[in-house]
């Protein structure tokens, strides 16, 4: 086989990653991979393409002993032994460990469940890149609706005239008046608390905008200065 042929290299790499390249052909291909950095790149690009297919699998609880074996093989977790002292007998009690293991497994399963699913199961999050009139990105706004917050990351520092403030607004759907979300900094990241009114309107909002206001923010509750920045909301 001519391993320099482009088409063949692509095809072999793809089937290696898919798993259909097997037996001697797989071993031969693995030996080739060790010497051929460019082929490794082709494989790596296929791994990136097909790898995400695994994300859809429903998680299965892993028996405790797998982790113990991993730790043992790597020589980890030795420090636990140091804790054996006055409470040796309790520490060594099988019952204690059994019950702790059960509790830990439950807590762990719950924690994994929360971490993996809860945020996306419960709410969508939104992001907006807030740009100036030249399409220069100035801030990145990202909601944390689990905590009714929006985090504003500074992408490019802006200059703020003395005695002025940048105020962030949500532009609700249907052309109703902008709702103030709070003041943001030209140079520092900031977390703003969102009112329930804003949270409920976020899903249909047209976007976010930043206006130039007197120090302390708009005195009227509506933008009084020019709108200098804006950005559309995208749900995640």
């Amino acid at each position: 086989m001519n391993y320099q042929d482009h088409e063949l290299r692509q095809a072999l790499a793809a089937e290696y990653v898919l798993g259909t390249l097997h037996g001697r052909a797989r071993q031969r291909f693995e030996r080739l991979l060790e010497q051929d950095a460019r082929l490794r790149q082709v494989v790596s690009s296929w791994e990136q393409k097909l790898g995400p297919l695994n994300e859809g699998l429903k998680p299965v609880e892993v028996p405790e002993e797998v982790w113990n074996k991993v730790q043992k093989r790597l020589g980890h977790g030795q420090d636990q032994k140091l804790k054996v002292g006055l409470f040796t007998s309790i520490w060594n009690s099988l019952l204690l460990w059994r019950s702790l293991t059960v509790v830990a497994t439950l807590v762990l399963a719950f924690a994994v469940y929360l971490n993996l699913f809860a945020p996306k199961l419960v709410v969508n999050q939104y992001i907006a890149v807030i740009q100036d009139s030249q399409q220069q990105a100035s801030w990145l706004a990202k909601t944390d609706l689990n905590n009714n917050q929006i985090v504003i990351h500074v992408l490019n520092e802006q200059t703020l005239p003395l005695g002025k403030a940048f105020e962030l607004w949500m532009l609700p759907d249907g052309g109703s008046a902008p709702i103030s979300m709070g003041l943001i900094s030209p140079s520092d990241n900031k977390t703003l608390i969102l009112s329930q009114a804003i949270v409920t309107k976020l899903a249909n909002a047209k976007g976010l905008a930043v206006s130039l206001e007197p120090d302390g923010g708009s005195p009227t509750g509506a933008p009084t200065g020019p709108v200098l920045y804006s950005g559309g909301l995208q749900s995640l």
């Binding site: 259909t20 995400p52 994300e55 699998l57 429903k58 998680p59 994994v112 993996l116």
Partner: protein, 180 residues
């Protein structure tokens, strides 16, 4: 996205030999990776071995990971899959084919699965929808069940040559779609 960032941070700490980060990484990913190994190996004990070997490798190879190589989850899943495929091939040498349970691949993701998907995962599923059913199923059977060309041919009562063509063209078109 957030999950990716968290896993990247943990992998980077693992590369610096931080045992706590490694433990946390295991907590967050092992149930998912175990599912991938089980899918291929069908047997609990073998899947546990694959997972164990894979995490030992992840500990040693964490330095090799960088985010330009895609999502950390996909990277780890690849390590688990290769280990599972190795074990599967060894098993098959020892036991006749029909001992292996070849339950039909569920190409519809469960509701949990849908929620877990990253942008990349959504994209590849969209691209797979562009294939015809037979092509798509053949590729998914190969990926999730670790079937060889011969087994796929037997399993779907399709000539070997056709299977090979479906896979080759199917993968090409997925690649084209993903790179569009």
């Amino acid at each position: 996205m957030e999950q990716d960032v968290r896993l990247q941070t943990l992998l980077a700490a693992t590369a610096r030999k931080d045992q706590q980060a490694f433990a946390r990484l295991y907590d967050l990913t092992s149930a998912n990776l175990f599912a991938a190994a089980l899918r291929i190996l069908k047997k609990d004990a073998a899947a546990q071995d694959a997972l164990q070997d894979a995490f030992v490798q992840i500990w040693h190879r964490a330095v090799d990971f960088n985010s330009s190589k895609g999502s950390p989850m996909a990277w780890m899943a690849t390590i688990v899959r290769y280990r599972a495929l190795d074990i599967l091939r060894k098993q098959k040498k020892l036991q006749p084919m029909d001992d292996i349970d070849l339950s039909l691949v569920d190409t519809e993701l469960g509701p949990m699965g849908k929620l877990l998907e990253s942008d990349m995962a959504r994209l590849i599923w969209e691209c797979l929808q562009e294939l015809n059913d037979k092509q798509r199923n053949t590729i998914l059977l190969a990926f999730y069940e670790g079937l060889t060309h011969d087994e796929l041919s037997e399993r779907t009562t399709t000539p070997l040559g056709t299977i090979k063509t479906w896979i080759r063209r199917g993968l090409q078109s997925v690649k084209g779609c993903l790179e569009r």
